[in-house]
C-alpha cells in the first residue's frame, strides 16, 4: 500500500530520511517537517499573544490605571489581535493542512514543496519585525487590529511602516500557502479520490484557500494605500485631501469578513472528522456540509458592511447588509444540525478530541447566536464596539478556532508522534480551558450590554465586578496552556505506542499508514474505492 520505508536506512536508495541537524529545518521541503514548524511557530505566537492578553486582563482587573499606561494598553490590544490572527490561528491551520492534506488525499507531499518551505520561513521574520515595533521610539501599532485610518495613517507612530511591511510579508506567505494547498488538492489526489469523497477537512481547506487568494491582496492594497498616505503625500484616506476615511473601512472589511471565515472553515472540517470518529457513526449530511461551507464562503463576500452599521451608510445599504448577514445563520445552522444529528443515536466515547469538539459545537453556536443578534442593524447601534462584540468574536474564535486546533492536535498526535498522549492530563487541559474560557468571555456579554465600550484601559465602576471575574478566568485559561505544552512534549518523548489507527471509529487514508507516519508516505498512490 505504501512504501513504508525505514527512515534511517543508510543504504543508497531514493527513499531517504530527514537530513541531520539544524539545516534539516532550514532546507526541508517535507510537508511533515514544514507542518511541524508551522505548528510550533503558531504555538509560540499563541503564547506571545496570550501574554499580551494577560497584560490586558491584569490592567482591567480593577478600574483605574494600575500597571500600564493607556498608550501601551492600546499597543497590547492591537498586537494581541494581530498576533493571534496572523501568527497563531492562520499558521496553525496551515500547519495542520501541511501535515494532513497530503495524507488524507493519498499524495506523497505538497504540490510545490520548495515554495512550501519559503512560505513558512517568511513567517518568523515577519513576526519578529511586527513584535520589534514595540521597542521602537513611539511604540508599536496602537490603532487596533482593524487599524482604521486616519488613526493608523496621519496619527500613527513611526513604527507603522514596519507594521505595513510585516503585513505584506504575512500576506505573501498566506497566498503562497493557499496556492500550494489548492494545487495539491486539485492535482495530487489518489486515483479514485473524487471531489465528493474528500474528507471535509480537505474540502473546507480548499474553500478557505480560495478565500485567502481572494482577500489577502485586498489587505495588501489597503496597507499599501496607508503607506502612500503616510510617506508619499497621497490622500486615499484623508478627507482633507479629497480622500475618504470610510473607504478604508470598506476595503478592510472586504478583506476582514472573509478573513474571519478563513479562521473558522478549517475548524468545521476538523470537527466533521472527529465527531463521527467518536460517535462511531458516519457524518450526517456530507453533501449538505460541502454546500453549506461553499454558501458561507460566498456570503462572506457580501456582508462586510455589517461591521460598519454605525458609520452612516445609506438606509438601503444598511438593509442589504442586515439581510445578507442574517442569511449566514442558515448554512451555519445546517452545519450545527448535522453535527448534532451525527451524534444522535451514535455510540459515543469522550476522549479529549471529542470533548474539545463537543465544546466547539456548543460554544461556537453561542457565538453564532450573538452573531445573529449583532446582525440586527438597529440593535447593533447598541452592541457595536462594546464588550458584547468582544464576547461574540472570542466565542467564535477561542472555541471555534483554538479549541478545534487543540482537538486536531490530540486527534492526530498519535499519528504524528507514534505515541498516545496522556489522556488524564489532556482531559484536565480540556476542563481547565473550558472553564477558564467561559469565565473570561461570558461576563463580557453582560458588561457589553450594560454599556462598556471595547478597547478602553479603564472603566466606570458599574463594570468592575464582571471585569474582575473575566480577569480571573483569563489567568486560568492562560496558565492552562502551559499544561498543553507539557502534554505535547511528553507525548513526543514517549508514551504508550500508538497503533496505525488509535481511534476505533476514525476513517480516512491517514490511518492506513503506520504511527508515527513515515517521513515519506504514499510515494505510490493508494487505491481509493
Amino acid at each position: 500500500m505504501t512504501s513504508a520505508t525505514d527512515t534511517h536506512g543508510g543504504h543508497d536508495d531514493h527513499a531517504h530520511g530527514p537530513a541531520k541537524g539544524l539545516m534539516r529545518w532550514v532546507l526541508t521541503t517535507n510537508h511533515k517537517d514544514i507542518g511541524s514548524m508551522y505548528l510550533w511557530f503558531s504555538f509560540i505566537m499563541f503564547l506571545t499573544g496570550g501574554a499580551m492578553a494577560m497584560i490586558i486582563r491584569a490592567e482591567l482587573f480593577q478600574p483605574g490605571l494600575h500597571i500600564v499606561e493607556p498608550a501601551f494598553f492600546n499597543q497590547m490590544t492591537t498586537m494581541h489581535g494581530l498576533i493571534m490572527v496572523f501568527g497563531a490561528v492562520m499558521p496553525a491551520f496551515v500547519g495542520l493542512a501541511n501535515w494532513m492534506i497530503p495524507m488524507q488525499i493519498g499524495a506523497p507531499d505538497m504540490a510545490m514543496p520548495r515554495m512550501n518551505n519559503w512560505s513558512f520561513w517568511i513567517l518568523p521574520f515577519a513576526a519578529v519585525m511586527l513584535i520589534s515595533t514595540l521597542f521602537m521610539e513611539g511604540g508599536g501599532p496602537n490603532f487596533g487590529w482593524t487599524f482604521y485610518a486616519p488613526l493608523s495613517t496621519d496619527y500613527s507612530p513611526p513604527s507603522t511602516t514596519f507594521f505595513i511591511f510585516a503585513i505584506h510579508m504575512l500576506g505573501i506567505s498566506s497566498i503562497m500557502g493557499a496556492i500550494n494547498i489548492i494545487a495539491t488538492i486539485l492535482n495530487l489526489r489518489a486515483p479514485g479520490m473524487t471531489m465528493m469523497k474528500m474528507p471535509l477537512f480537505v474540502w473546507t481547506w480548499l474553500i478557505t484557500a480560495y478565500l485567502l487568494i481572494a482577500v489577502m491582496p485586498v489587505l495588501a492594497g489597503a496597507v499599501t494605500m496607508m503607506l502612500l498616505d503616510i510617506h508619499f503625500g497621497t490622500s486615499f484616506f484623508n478627507a482633507g485631501g479629497g480622500g475618504d476615511p470610510v473607504l478604508f473601512q470598506h476595503i478592510f472589511w472586504f478583506f476582514g469578513h472573509p478573513e474571519v471565515y478563513i479562521m473558522i472553515l478549517p475548524s468545521f472540517g476538523i470537527v466533521s472528522a472527529i465527531i463521527p470518529a467518536f460517535a462511531r457513526k458516519g457524518l450526517f449530511g456530507y453533501t449538505s456540509m460541502v454546500y453549506a461551507t461553499a454558501s458561507i464562503a460566498f456570503l462572506s463576500f457580501i456582508v462586510w458592511a455589517h461591521h460598519m452599521f454605525t458609520v452612516g451608510i445609506p438606509l438601503i445599504g444598511e438593509l442589504f447588509f442586515m439581510y445578507a448577514t442574517m442569511l449566514i445563520a442558515v448554512p451555519t445552522g445546517v452545519k450545527v444540525f448535522n453535527w448534532v444529528t451525527t451524534m444522535f443515536r451514535g455510540s459515543m466515547t469522550f476522549e479529549t478530541p471529542m470533548l474539545f469538539s463537543i465544546a466547539f459545537v456548543v460554544l461556537f453556536t453561542i457565538g453564532g447566536f450573538s452573531g445573529l443578534m449583532l446582525s440586527i442593524a438597529p440593535a447593533d447601534f447598541q452592541y457595536h464596539d462594546t464588550y458584547f462584540v468582544v464576547a461574540h468574536f472570542h466565542y467564535v474564535l477561542v472555541p471555534g478556532a483554538i479549541f478545534a486546533i487543540f482537538a486536531a492536535c490530540y486527534y492526530w498526535l498519535p499519528k504524528w508522534t507514534g505515541h498516545m498522549y496522556d489522556e488524564t492530563l489532556a482531559k484536565t487541559h480540556f476542563w481547565l480551558s473550558f472553564i477558564g474560557m467561559n469565565l473570561t468571555f461570558f461576563p463580557m456579554h453582560f458588561v457589553g450590554l450594560a454599556g462598556m465600550p471595547r478597547r478602553i484601559p479603564d472603566y466606570a465602576l458599574q463594570f468592575a465586578n464582571f471585569n474582575e471575574i473575566s480577569s480571573v478566568g483569563g489567568f486560568l485559561f492562560g496558565t492552562t496552556q502551559f499544561l498543553f505544552l507539557f502534554i505535547i512534549i511528553k507525548c513526543i518523548r514517549g508514551g504508550e505506542k500508538a497503533p496505525a489507527k488509535p481511534w476505533e471509529g476514525a476513517e480516512g487514508l491517514e490511518w492506513s499508514v503506520p504511527s508515527p507516519a513515515p517521513y515519506h508516505t504514499f510515494t505510490t498512490p493508494p487505491d481509493v474505492k
Partner: protein, 395 residues
C-alpha cells in the same frame, strides 16, 4: 479584598440583589428613555429569546444523545447518513424565522434613519479627546471635557460613583423635542454613543452624519466614545442633561450671557501673574493630556515643551502662538482657535514660556492673540512692554 470576596460570593450565590451595588451586576441592555431605544430593546429581547429557544432545542437533543447514546451504556450506532427532507426542513424553517425577524428590524431602522423635521439642530464634533457641541443658529458652542480628577484615575483618591462618566459641561437638550445631531470629527474617527438614547453615530473627519433623539424623561444620561481614537479613547465621556423646555430656554440664555462675559475679558489688561495662574489651569485641563503636567510630553508623538526651541526662543513666539491657534496638520496637535478663548490661548502660551524652567519672562496678551487670529500676524502690544522684567523677578 473583602469587597472582592463578597462580590465573588454574590456571583456564586447567583444573587443580583446586593442593595446599593445593584447596578454593578447589570447584565442587560438599558431600555432607555426614547421610543427608538425601547423599540431596539424589544428587538434585542425578541432575537435573544429566539436564540434561547433554538439553543434549548439543539443543545437538548445534543445532551440527550451525550447521555443516552454512549458506548459505555451499550449504545449501538445506527447507520443513517442522509435525509434530503430533513436538510430542506432545517434550511427553510430558520429562513422563515429570519424573515419574520427582519420585518420589525426594518421598521425600526427606517425610523432611526428618519432625521427630517427636527426642532433643534446640534453639531457634535469629536476631538482627541473631548466633544464640542454647537447649537446651530443659537450662537452657543462649548467643549465638554472629562472632569474626573486625575487622582481618581491613578487610585490616589477614592473613585466617585460617576467615575469616568462625568464632564465639565454636559450637553443640555429639552425633553419632548426632536433633536437632530450632526456628527463629525476634527482629527480621527470617534463615535458618539449614549445608551439610554440608543444613539451611536461615528464621528468621521470630512463627513457629517445625522442622528436624532426625542427624550421622554428629564434626567442625566451618560455615555462614552465608542470608536478607538487614540491614547485617551477611554477618557472622553458624554453626558446629556434632558431638561424641561422652560429650563432649557433659561439655560440657553445663561449660556449666552456667560459667553459675552468671556469676550469682555479679552479687553482687560492682564498681569503676568493673572495670565500664569489662568494658564496653569487651562494647560492642565486641555494640554496636559498629551504634553503632560510637567511639560515633558511623550515623544515622538507628543513633543516636550519643557526646554523646547518653540517655547524658549524669543524668535519663535509667533510660531508658538500659531501652533496653538491653528494646530499642526496631520498630527494630534489640533487647532484651538475655536476651542479656547483669546484669554485662554494667551494664558497657555505665556504659561508654557515660563513654566518648568522655561523662564523666558515673555508674555503674550489676549489682544495680541485676537490680533493674530484676525490678521495672521503677531504684533507685540506696546502697552505691556513696561511690565515684565520686574514681574519676572517675583515669579
Amino acid at each position: 479584598m473583602r469587597q472582592q470576596a463578597r462580590s465573588l460570593f454574590l456571583l456564586l450565590a447567583g444573587s443580583t440583589a446586593s442593595g446599593s451595588s445593584l447596578a454593578e451586576w447589570e447584565v442587560n441592555m438599558t431600555e432607555g428613555v426614547t421610543a427608538v431605544s425601547r423599540n431596539i430593546y424589544g428587538l434585542h429581547m425578541t432575537i435573544l429569546m429566539i436564540c434561547v429557544v433554538i439553543g434549548v432545542i439543539v443543545f437538548g437533543v445534543m445532551f440527550y444523545s451525550i447521555f443516552k447514546h454512549r458506548k459505555s451504556k451499550g449504545a449501538v450506532p445506527q447507520q443513517f447518513h442522509e435525509s434530503t427532507l430533513v436538510e430542506i426542513a432545517w434550511t427553510s424553517i430558520p429562513f422563515l424565522i429570519l424573515v419574520l425577524m427582519a420585518i420589525p428590524a426594518t421598521k425600526t431602522l427606517v425610523d432611526i434613519y428618519n432625521t427630517d423635521e427636527a426642532d433643534i439642530d446640534i453639531k457634535i464634533t469629536g476631538y482627541q479627546w473631548k466633544w464640542q457641541y454647537e447649537y446651530v443658529g443659537e450662537d452657543v458652542s462649548f467643549f465638554s471635557n472629562l472632569s474626573t480628577p486625575r487622582e481618581e484615575v491613578t487610585n490616589v483618591r477614592t473613585k466617585n460613583p460617576n467615575y469616568l462618566l462625568e464632564v465639565d459641561e454636559p450637553l443640555v437638550i429639552p425633553v419632548g423635542k426632536k433633536v437632530r445631531f450632526l456628527v463629525t470629527a476634527a482629527d480621527v474617527i470617534h463615535s458618539w454613543w449614549v445608551p439610554a438614547l440608543a444613539v451611536k453615530r461615528d464621528a468621521i473627519p470630512g463627513f457629517i452624519n445625522e442622528a436624532w433623539t426625542n427624550i421622554d424623561v428629564p434626567g442625566t444620561y451618560r455615555g462614552q466614545c465608542a470608536e478607538l481614537c487614540g491614547k485617551d479613547h477611554g477618557y472622553m465621556p458624554i453626558v446629556v442633561e434632558a431638561k424641561s423646555e422652560a429650563d432649557y430656554e433659561a439655560w440657553l440664555v445663561a449660556k449666552k450671557e456667560e459667553a459675552e462675559k468671556e469676550r469682555e475679558l479679552t479687553d482687560k489688561v492682564w498681569s503676568m501673574e493673572e495670565l500664569m495662574a489662568r494658564g496653569e489651569q487651562t494647560y492642565n485641563k486641555v494640554c496636559a493630556v498629551c504634553h503632560q503636567v510637567n511639560g515633558t510630553g511623550m515623544p515622538p508623538l507628543f513633543p516636550a515643551l519643557k526646554g523646547s526651541a518653540m517655547a524658549t526662543e524669543a524668535s519663535q513666539i509667533a510660531a508658538h502662538v500659531d501652533i496653538v491657534v491653528n494646530g499642526k496638520k496631520g498630527t494630534a496637535m489640533q487647532s484651538f482657535a475655536n476651542q479656547l478663548s483669546e484669554v485662554d490661548i494667551a494664558a497657555v502660551v505665556t504659561y508654557e514660556r515660563n513654566a518648568w524652567g522655561n523662564n523666558t519672562g515673555e508674555m503674550v496678551t489676549p489682544k495680541e492673540v485676537m490680533e493674530y487670529k484676525k490678521t495672521g500676524k503677531y504684533v507685540e502690544e506696546t502697552a505691556k512692554q513696561a511690565m515684565p522684567a520686574k514681574q519676572q523677578a517675583s515669579l
